[in-house]
Amino acid sequence: MPKITDAATAIKQIKNGDTVMIGGFMAVGTPENLVDTLIEQGTGDLTVICNDTGFIGIGIGKLIVDHRITELMASHIGTNPETGRQMNAGEIKVTLMPQGTLAERIRAGGYGLGGVLTPTGFGTVVEEGKKTIEIEGVPYLLELPIKADYALLHAKVGDKAGNLMYHGTMYNFNPVMAMAANTVIAEVDEILEDSFLPPDSIHTPGIVVDYLVKKAW
């Protein structure tokens, strides 16, 4: 059973220097309350794993603008020019990788796999430093798992067993991140206090969710 609590209580366990996965694609599926609380609490020096850095003032963009991230793994930073500026100025270390590779690497972390072979990125700078393995004459890159101390998710509905259901494109990286972090904090628009989500319609099983926070603003 997850602890149902407020954002401040759930977020304060995150320390400077921790590795944090944050769900969302262009800020849809990003837990804005949890991000705001990280900023309020002054947590910094974070390694953040996410698809993109949102926009200035929206989603993960807020953590960038406030210089809370020292290391970033993402697939796209183009919608937030401040990320590119900090990268070029050497203020932040950025590792860019293909979006599908990012998804598989996080999944591998959470699913106990040692890695996956993907054709994506072969023949490009993405292959630098990676092992190439040929299977039936086709070259693949060996991509390694990614894990984190925390995953911050955003779902539409959570029940008291911690089961989550997303809606629309907020789904994106949230389900794989839920499996790949030691501690999972989910911000949800609605908490079912007296009932449960239907067992055939659950996107993230409650056993991996440690804290449920009701979205408050």
């Binding site: 590119g84 979006q99 998804a103 990286f173």
Partner: protein, 207 residues
């Protein structure tokens, strides 16, 4: 002209992913029966939501609030790229900075200038059954974009199938780039002058 010509390449019943920018404009000219995939986790993507009626939790790959059509579905990123990498997308239409005669594509960065990240482009180019490049024939400064060899970091090697510009329709094959059509308003001479790559010109298109 680019956009309408690309639309003719998309077959009813097929699953298509349109990149950001010029390719997105193809949406307006799609034939019936095309299923649009959006790599952030949607099949049967619909048009942008009317003002004030947008569902804040449904966006396209550019972050724009859109709708989902009847029969569509949502899924997570691992599934979405499984659909893409696994060959379940029939065609992708993407823009380009450079394309070359070895079917290479460069579209995601200009070192030291523009490094937005590759997003889903690398997976799309490798995974989609057919890769269609929709772009202006030349860069803004007039320099050719269809080259003997790409100079910018690649998005993927040997994956381009078709190039559609305002001047030409070019098929990219293992034998090289074959000029298939001269667009209205252009000429063979115009194309040859604005293309660095070697072009194979079929008999019927020679003056």
């Amino acid at each position: 002209m680019i956009v309408t010509r690309v639309a003719q390449e998309l077959k009813p019943g097929s699953v298509v992913n349109l990149g950001i920018g010029l390719p997105t404009l193809v949406t307006k000219y799609l034939p019936e029966g095309i299923t649009l995939q959006s790599e952030n986790g949607m099949l049967n993507m619909g048009p942008p939501a009317p003002n004030g009626e947008a569902d804040p939790y449904i966006c396209d790959a550019g972050g724009k609030k859109v709708t989902i059509l009847p029969g569509g579905c949502f899924f997570d990123s691992a599934t979405s790229f499984g659909i893409i990498r696994g060959g379940h997308v029939d065609a992708t239409v993407l823009g380009a900075l450079e394309v070359d005669q070895n079917r290479n594509l460069a579209s995601w960065m200009i070192p030291g200038k523009m490094v937005p990240g590759m997003g889903g482009a690398m997976d799309l180019v490798v995974g989609a059954k057919r890769v269609i490049i929709a772009m202006e024939h030349c860069a803004k400064d007039g320099s050719p974009k269809i080259l003997k060899q790409c100079t910018l970091p690649l998005t993927a090697a040997n994956q381009v199938d078709l190039i559609v510009t305002e001047k030409a329709v070019i098929e990219a094959t293992e034998q090289g780039l074959i000029l298939r059509e001269i667009q209205p308003g252009s000429s063979l001479e115009d194309i040859l002058q604005s293309t660095e790559a070697d072009l194979i010109i079929p008999e019927e298109l020679r003056g």
